[in-house]
Amino acid sequence: MYGQLTWVVKFETLFLPFFFVLDTCGTPGLTTDMDLQELSATARMARLSLSPSEMEKLGQAVEQMLQHFSHMKEIDVEGLAPTTHALLRENRTRDDTERTADVSDALLANAPQREERFIVVPNVL
């Protein structure tokens, strides 16, 4: 059923190195764990571009949370296994059988730009 749905660009190919330089000049207020360089690097990884005023405001908010997180050092976690899911015990797989879902038109209708059944993106090369 999904066979008709063709991506022009595979999502994975979007994760190429980034060339955006963030303007981080003159942003005060960051001191400890999260300095400006770290914040810019993190924003780049998160595919976000921060304006100077966002750098200041979000930088302070991130810093405040990281300081709060630092109290976790006070608790002894020696010998404790990490919990990823509280109640999930094992992986479950479904039967390898065919099923249909007639949603491709409704999915394509949500595409921001398209030509017939193709999704259009800016030039890749």
Binding site: W7, V9, F11, T13, L14, L16, F18, F19, F20, M34, E38, L39, T42, A43, M45, A46, R47, L48, S49, L50, E54, L58, A61, V62, Q64, M65, L66, H68, F69, H71, M72, K73, E74, I75, V77, L80, P82, T83, T84, H85, A86, L87, L88, R92, T93, R94, A101, V103, A106, L107, A109, N110, A111, P112, Q113, I119, V121, P122, N123, V124
Partner: protein, 460 residues
């Protein structure tokens, strides 16, 4: 007047429609209201025949928008319905509309919605709580008798408490998450905000159970139900949390009420109590940064117009589409997952999560339920004057431990102080929802959900 058959009887539908539109205009509960109740393909017969319900706008309903309260999904129309919505529709209930929320469920006031402002039916200057604030306001205003929400760290219980209604956060995995837009997958569950315990219980019984479309959903294995006198634990550490005097009074009054009902209050200890908020926010933001990576502007959602290449398109689409709180959580989550920081933050938080689970196991060896406040302060005013975003995060201290441990919890209205409702919550061992309903029903008989000003008589 009885509105239970609203969708099927035309005369009822017209009075309901008029009321719903007027109240929604005043309070801003819905991002999309369907006053004709004609969209969702309900079976119209069954135990909830003709009962309209609200659906938080991060849960999919076919042919309705699914915005998550975000600019990035403002125009998105859902191609399919969540399993919970299908199941409720098969039982005769009918979707009245999509309710407002903090963007992607991130917040405690619904002020982080990019699309609409929601007011508390008890006082229009105050927030309805969040993130399921639209659902709670719609139920408290009497537009619908129950509404779906999602609870990642308290997002069903806290708004229910702020609006004077009941809020159920089920056991993690007891209810299918198929059709819920993912924020923090290991913490979040779909829950119910309801005017009565009965509506919450009916909706839960219809929704629960394993779903082939959600591989993390679990078969319904209810705990053997204890009845009669219960041992109810109150964490000793609760008293150290700074609380508003009205909330403190409500805690004492609720303990007194439960003792009068024949139950025994016991002190229990949660040595991890001080660390639940940190552990919660490390894990929630880490999962959020991964889950929200899917919004790239390619296949759906907002796309930036002026991009020259796909990389720039993704960067600008996300930057333009996400609000401030979402950006903050994505940044935090990305940071704690960076190589070199993982052990210090993410891994440590997961180990503390184990310690939190062990605290609950120890507590439940000696008590049947745990009683806690829901939120340290009463419903606050819009605009952040008396509660900034950082204090709102710290205030998740009473609610987020149930999410970390995967346990069911239910908030109930416990007082009206200075004209504002204040809630308390019970927590139970996994799959102990039956006991939550039983205990809440006993409280409800003495103190039913108080009617907000203008509450209609239709759902009695």
């Amino acid at each position: 007047m009885d509105w239970h058959g609203t969708a099927t009887a035309e005369r009822l539908r017209n009075t309901w429609k008029e009321f719903a539109q007027k109240r929604d205009q005043e309070l801003g509960c819905f991002l999309q209201l369907d006053p004709e109740l004609g969209r969702d393909g309900s079976a119209l017969q069954g135990s909830l025949a003709g009962v309209p319900f609200g659906v938080k706008d991060n849960i999919a309903v076919r042919s309705f928008r699914l915005t998550c309260g975000s600019r990035i999904l403002r125009e998105f129309v859902s191609p399919y319905s969540a399993t919970v919505v299908e199941r409720l529709a098969n039982a005769g209930a009918i979707v009245a509309g999509k309710t407002n929320l903090d963007e992607f469920g991130m917040g405690s006031s619904t002020e982080n919605s990019a699309l609409r402002e929601t007011r508390n039916p008890w006082d229009a200057r105050r927030v309805p709580g969040g993130s399921s604030g639209g659902s709670a306001a719609a139920v408290a205003a009497g537009i619908v008798p129950f509404a779906l929400g999602s609870d990642t760290g308290g997002s069903v219980r806290q708004p229910a408490s702020f609006c004077g209604v009941f809020g159920l956060k089920p056991t993690w995995g007891a209810v299918s998450r198929y059709g819920l837009v993912a924020y923090a997958s290991s913490l979040e569950v779909i829950g119910v905000v309801a005017k009565t315990v009965s509506f919450a219980e009916q909706a839960f019984e219809i929704m629960r159970g394993q779903d082939p479309m959600d591989h993390s959903s679990l078969p319904w294995l209810p705990r053997a139900q204890k009845s009669g006198r219960l041992h109810i634990g109150v964490p000793r550490e609760c008293a150290d949390v700074p609380m508003h005097p009205d909330v403190k009074r409500t805690v004492e009054r609720t303990k007194g009420l439960l003792t009068d009902l024949g139950h025994t209050i016991k002190e229990v200890s949660f040595p991890t109590f001080d660390h639940v908020v940190s552990s919660y926010y490390v894990i929630a933001t880490a999962e959020a940064s991964a889950n929200l990576a899917r919004f790239d502007g390619v296949r759906y959602g907002h796309r930036a117009l002026r991009a020259d290449n796909p990389e720039e398109m993704t960067l600008l689409s996300r930057t333009e589409g996400f609000g401030e709180e979402v950006k903050l959580r994505i940044l935090l989550g990305t940071y704690v997952l960076r190589s070199g920081f993982q052990d210090e933050y993410y891994l440590r938080a997961q180990k503390i999560r184990t310690a939190i689970r062990m605290d609950f196991e120890k507590a439940f060896a000696g008590v049947d339920l745990v009683l806690m406040p829901v939120y340290p302060v009463p419903p606050f005013e819009r605009g952040g004057a008396d509660s900034d975003p950082f204090s709102q995060k710290l205030a998740d201290i009473f609610t987020c431990s149930a999410n970390l441990a995967g346990l069911p919890a239910m908030s109930f209205p416990a007082a009206v102080e200075n004209g504002l409702p204040i809630g308390m919550q019970f927590l139970a061992p996994a799959f102990g929802e039956g006991l939550l309903f039983e205990a809440c029903r006993q409280v409800e008989e003495v103190f039913p959900s108080p009617d907000a000003p203008g509450y209609p008589t239709g759902w009695s």
